[in-house]
Amino acid sequence: MDDNSLNQRLASWRVTPTGSQQLAGAVPPPGRRDPVAVWSVAAAVALLAGGAAGYSANQSDRERVLHLYVRQISDSLPR
């Protein structure tokens, strides 16, 4: 059996990354998370968190102005 056919047979058996792939950094070793995926998730979470903080600040401002507006209409009421 020559090297090529041996490699083909090995490739058909293996589902885990080869040692050479691990050394090249193309695929993380088993048990370690892909750093690109980790940083992508962190970036998405940061973007969402920033958006959520902006939305929350908007809601707070809206409530403040709304309160003023309702007071403007009802402030002349007798107490």
């Binding site: 973007l47 908007n58 709304l66 309702v70 002349s76 107490r79």
Partner: protein, 149 residues
């Protein structure tokens, strides 16, 4: 991954959070809230033009005069009840308060009529419940509760 690369990535992620905040943040709303500028908020929130704002200002002016009269009636009814409590004075006070409440609701509906249909719907949904709960004990707070002052 080297430390400098990690720091750079962390800074980029922080920048992304700031970008998210800037994209969502409504700066006109923020300015209205900071300056206590209710008119600017209404114009921005309900997409009102100058003509609509002028009509609303005129309605507000008319309402303030009308409200002063209703409030005078409520005050008189309160004084009458304090002087001589009974079912008649209680009914008179309740009637005056109801008249005042209805005037407020009418006023809010008249303002909504100056707005485009979608804005009017949003305005009524936002304001009516709060106006309704603002009774003669004081204005509503941020949660819509009424407190004596």
């Amino acid at each position: 991954m080297r430390l400098s690369s990690r720091l750079l990535l962390a800074a980029s992620i922080l920048c992304l959070a700031v970008v998210g905040w800037f994209v969502v943040r409504d700066f006109e709303l923020s300015a209205s809230a900071c300056n206590h500028d209710v008119q600017a908020w209404m114009r921005h929130e309900f997409a009102l033009d100058d003509a609509a704002m002028a009509r609303i200002a005129s309605l507000q002016e008319r309402f303030e005069k009308e409200c002063a009269e209703h409030c005078r009636l409520v005050s008189e009814a309160k004084s009458a009840m304090d002087a001589k409590p009974g079912p008649d004075s209680r009914a008179r006070l309740a009637g005056a308060r109801e008249q005042c409440r209805l005037a407020r609701v009418d006023h809010v509906r008249a303002i909504a009529a100056c707005m485009p249909p979608e804005s009017a719907k949003a305005y009524l949904a936002l304001i009516l419940p709060r106006i309704d709960s603002a009774d003669h004990e004081g204005a509503t707070d941020l949660s819509g509760q009424t407190h004596s002052r």
